[in-house]
Point group: C2
Chain length 187, copies 2
């Protein structure tokens, strides 16, 4: 089960068995059922999560109690309310299971210990952060350059499996359009 994690890290940086053992001491395993919350708005954010199996949604709830999907996280994805995690403040978003989900997670303290204790791990996080930034920037560009239909088609192309696993109303929220509009795009 931690094999997923090792394989994931080694896509970026090869590890010795000792190094991976060191890394493992900083992770713990957790299991959640569909509809359970890993992070709830207003609570402290103790962990950053790596999804082994299952599916999560990161949700921002606005003043009028409307939910907006900031992102999804499936197998091999990292997720958290990163701002709250890094600054150790209250969650501004919630992280909820769309399916039964198994994760590995670490605390900020463990994060620092991994970075300090193993430079490779700091390098890994740097790569991940860079790619995370690039992903967000790509999403912004997609929004600047494309209409709803095009953005939906790009998502379909980019994450076809997601569309199978997630209700269309959530896909619509992720794309920033109403579920009715998304429904009409297909026809």
């Amino acid at each position: 089960m931690r094999a997923n994690l090792r394989e994931h890290i080694e896509k970026i940086i090869p590890l010795t068995d000792e190094e991976f053992a060191f890394i493992c001491t900083h992770f713990s395993t957790k299991k959640f059922k569909k509809h359970q919350f890993l992070i709830q708005k207003g609570d402290p954010v103790k962990y950053c999560y790596f999804v082994i199996s299952g599916l999560l949604k990161l949700v921002y709830t606005d003043d009028s109690a409307k939910e907006h999907i900031v992102s999804f996280a499936m197998e091999d994805w990292w997720e958290s309310d990163y701002y709250a995690f890094f600054t150790q403040t209250e969650a501004t978003m919630s992280l909820e299971c769309l399916e039964d989900t198994e994760v590995l997670c670490f605390s900020l303290d463990d994060y620092k210990k991994m970075c300090d204790g193993l430079q490779k791990m700091e390098r890994f996080f740097l790569e991940k952060a860079n790619f995370g930034f690039l992903g967000s920037q790509r999403r912004i560009i997609s929004w600047l350059t494309s209409n709803s239909k095009e953005r939906y088609e790009q998502l379909l192309k980019q994450s076809p499996s997601l569309i199978q696993r997630v209700p269309k109303s959530l896909i619509a929220s992720y794309l920033g359009i109403s579920r009715e509009t998304l429904s009409r795009l297909s026809s």
Copy 2:
């Protein structure tokens, strides 16, 4: 002039004089006039830039030759076509001066040497990458939750100086609306 850079880095990590001297060997200075390009779409991206003075726009040009502002960069901001920079591929965006601009810059080679030679610098880049990601995510949330007027007001609040220095047509492009719509928001 490099004092800006040192101060900027030391907001995150204190440096000794030797460390800063090491860092400096990897930066070079460049000056550009208004309307000049630091990066042109299709060309290789040799550098990542730190703005000492002046103002830049990062532009994505779509298939129908319409320009979209991905971001602005003013004093103390970093900018590049990061994807092209890190992967050493051709620029998909262009980076152009809105004012006479002075920058410090480094190559990918220098980036790697700095990370390898000074762990503090890798830590610095990690922090920067994390904050960059968070900034993009905040922009996405702003787009998901707010209408054009609200997004404009948020920008005004967040970067009041930017609105002074940049034509409204470019602000509109950054917000993903037409210049006419932005013009009508004020009234």
